[in-house]
């Protein structure tokens, strides 16, 4: 039966809009017939202008033909609007998305093919593109191939930047920088996309290792820190600033204990006019230097801040500045002193903390002067840790750390207690409290605390016991024994 419109009030229609079911019995059938109610329902949902705004906004998106097909469920990345994609490019890459960039595979176990390379699998994705593990079929060796993201392939500036990365990275030859084999341009089938062929480093990134193992051992911290510093020094010698030093950009060659710096995607040469610009990517500002955050000019010492962050992360298992949002992190980078490393990880000697904190100095002037200086310092530290009896700690680190305040206080207190106890034990027993108090006051040692100690002798003993290991730990563990 078809009811008249009058039987549906605006309120009932609104309820229909807000609900999830078919609403009052018969309303579905009624709406199919009654143009009046159809119009009212539409008007209640939105006014005519909004309906058309919505259509215009969502329709425009459909006018573009996407250059490549992404899985439907990844709605965000599917948006073909280039700028918007550029901005939202942090959507996670999947193998199937990456596969769309490649020619069909020549072998069923391979993901695809590009140029003369058989692509095996996706090993990483970053702001600019994706990285595959592949085989060079002519030279018969594994390689890593970095491909410009498709939405950037059409952009001249992105291509330039990609080429700049290639040139920059290729110019740096060092054991601790990932070598670039070649830059190639794919054939027609590959849409003529440029790609970078690098040495394949088996073993994953430092970030993966930290995620897996948490804080690293002292020797490893020093070794990786030292090697990263050497790689940076080599880049700096070429007038190149990396600008994005972080654990995920340090690769660990498994088996040979070698750390290599990679991803010069953000690197700028020191004579680049745009050097004053910061260049961070939303989502990972944890390793930015304060001058980058503030948008000030940067130089090689900005990379030292990044190195400090990396070392901090190796010591503690997490970056020095953490917060819920990127913005809070940025604020902490410019305003906060990170939490003491030794408090987080008691196995780390205090002199390492001093090195890291110096790298993390807010002002560039307060950091070390060059990556090379850090490299030589860490090299000496490593030698010391490996052979503590033969190689002393570098002189600049030998200056005794500022003792914690309570150590001298405890020392004085214990002398006082010893005196008091001596007196107390020589007293004939039983001795009343009042008498003891008199004796103590004649000793002119801080009466109050001593009285308290005296009435709690067992506790004093336990404190003394604590005191000794602390002292032991501070010398043995910090200065001689690197590990446990």
């Amino acid at each position: 039966m078809i009811r008249t419109c009058a039987s549906y009030s605006d309120d009932q229609l609104r309820q229909l809009l807000l609900g999830n079911d078919d609403g009052p019995t018969g309303s579905v059938d009624h709406l199919a017939e009654c143009s009046n109610c159809q119009a009212r329902l539409e008007r209640l949902a939105a006014d005519a202008e909004q309906w058309s705004e919505i259509r215009d906004s969502l329709q425009l998106e459909r006018d573009f033909e996407p250059g490549f097909e992404l899985p439907l469920e990844n709605n965000r990345s599917r948006s073909p609007n280039k700028d918007r994609d550029h901005w939202l490019r942090h959507a996670t890459w999947t193998e199937s998305m990456a596969k769309s960039l490649l020619s069909p595979a020549s072998h069923p176990e391979m993901l695809g093919r590009i140029g003369r390379y058989d692509v095996e699998r996706l090993i990483g994705s970053g702001g600019m593109g994706v990285v595959f593990k592949a085989y060079d079929t002519e030279l018969n060796r594994p390689v890593a191939i970095k491909l410009l993201a498709p939405y950037l392939a059409g952009s001249g500036s992105a291509r330039n930047r990609f080429a700049r990365e290639a040139r920059a990275a290729a110019a740096v030859v060092d054991d601790h920088v990932v070598p670039i084999h070649n830059v190639e341009t794919g054939n027609e089938q590959d849409n003529g996309q440029p790609f970078l062929v690098m040495k394949f480093i088996p073993g994953g990134s430092l970030q993966q290792r930290i995620d897996r193992e948490g804080p690293l051992e002292l020797c490893e911290i020093l070794r990786i820190g030292m090697q990263a510093a050497k790689g940076l020094a080599a880049a700096h010698a070429q007038g190149l600033i990396h600008r994005d030093v972080k654990p995920s950009n340090i690769l660990l060659d498994e088996g040979v204990d070698r750390a290599l710096i990679t991803d010069f995607g953000l690197a700028r040469t020191t004579d680049d006019a745009s050097l004053t610009r910061s260049g961070f990517h939303p989502g990972t500002p944890h390793y930015m230097s304060p001058e980058q955050v503030r948008g000030e000019a940067i130089d090689a010492r900005s990379d030292l801040f990044g190195l400090g962050c990396v070392m901090y992360a190796m010591c503690t298992g997490h970056p020095p500045f953490r917060s819920e949002t990127s913005y809070a992190v940025l604020r902490r980078i410019t305003d906060d002193t990170p939490r003491s490393i030794c408090e987080t990880n008691a196995l780390i000697p205090e002199w390492i903390e001093r090195i890291v904190m110096k790298l993390l100095a807010k002002s560039r002037e307060a950091r070390y002067s060059s990556a090379f200086e850090v490299y030589t310092l860490l090299e000496k530290c490593l030698a010391h840790v490996q052979q503590p009896t033969i190689v002393p700690l570098p002189v600049e680190l030998q200056q005794k750390p500022q003792r914690r305040l309570w150590l001298p206080v405890l020392a004085i207190a214990s002398i006082g207690i010893a005196l008091t106890c001596g007196v107390w034990w020589t007293q004939p027993r039983p001795v009343g409290n009042a008498d003891t108090a008199t004796v103590v006051s004649t000793e002119t040692v801080s009466t109050e605390s001593v009285l308290q100690w005296e009435s709690d002798l067992p506790e004093m003993e336990s404190l003394r016991r604590d005191f000794v290991p602390v002292e032991k730990k501070s010398t043995k563990l910090w200065d001689i024994e690197p590990k446990q």
């Binding site: 309120d11 609104r14 229909l16 809009l17 807000l18 078919d22 309303s27 579905v28 009624h30 709406l31 199919a32 159809q38 329902l41 539409e42 209640l44 949902a45 939105a46 202008e49 909004q50 309906w51 705004e53 919505i54 259509r55 215009d56 906004s57 969502l58 329709q59 425009l60 998106e61 459909r62 709605n75 965000r76 948006s79 609007n81 700028d83 918007r84 901005w87 950037l152 952009s155 500036s157 992105a158 930047r161 006019a273 745009s274 004053t276 610009r277 910061s278 260049g279 961070f280 990517h281 939303p282 955050v293 948008g295 917060s323 819920e324 949002t325 990127s326 913005y327 809070a328 940025l330």
Partner: protein, 197 residues
């Protein structure tokens, strides 16, 4: 008891005051990020520098959003943001020794110095687009897929109600309800972004 729509105007902006409000900042960046980025690109900046401009704009907003909120008579948030973005874009262009790259520094300057009219209406138009696209993602994820398709086919793709009903195996009445429900939710979601002001 119909829930009267809450007063959500500027609510997102209010939440930005709290830098720890991840959700608010995420939404904010999703919508305003591409806008500011495009604005910078149009000024003749290269992609890398445009990204930098976006970052700087957001940092500036994070630092001064409470000042804006504390004003007795705040102007539109969007206008405020536009001003910030323009200032930062100008700074970025002028900081280069040879002017802008891209289309040429001189031209970038002239564009910036031009009166606001077109600029601001273009910004408004793109803003609305971003808001509705964002809202569409939210709604699409929360309604039944047929509900969304009914809306998409009939309102966006111009398929007739009857044809859509047949294709989706829904009754005609349900197609009417579905598309209006989607539009209603889109409007509700978009409301907090002051799209129609």
């Amino acid at each position: 008891m119909l829930p009267s729509p809450p007063e959500t105007r500027a609510s997102l902006i209010v939440r930005l005051r709290d830098v720890a409000d991840v959700a608010a900042w995420d939404e904010f960046m999703t919508i305003y990020g591409p806008l500011v980025y495009r604005l910078a690109i149009r000024q003749g900046l290269q992609a890398v520098d445009a990204e930098d401009v976006v970052q700087q704009v957001f940092i500036a907003v994070a630092q001064s959003v409470h000042q804006w909120l504390d004003r007795p008579q705040p102007n539109r948030f969007r206008s405020w943001l536009l001003t910030i973005a323009r200032n930062i874009a100008i700074k970025t262009l002028t900081r280069r020794p040879h002017g802008g790259v891209g289309l040429g520094g001189e031209r970038g300057w002239n564009d910036l110095a031009a009166p606001d009219g077109d600029w601001s209406s273009q910004f408004d138009f793109e803003y609305r687009q971003e808001v509705y696209r964002w809202a569409a993602e939210q709604v699409q994820n929360t309604v039944a897929s047929n509900t969304w398709k009914a809306f998409q086919l009939t309102h966006i793709e111009g398929v007739s109600i009857a044809a859509a009903a047949e294709r989706l195996g829904m009754s005609i009445g349900n197609v009417y309800i579905a598309r209006s429900r989607v539009v209603n939710r889109l409007r509700e979601l978009a409301k907090q972004f002051e799209v129609s002001q």
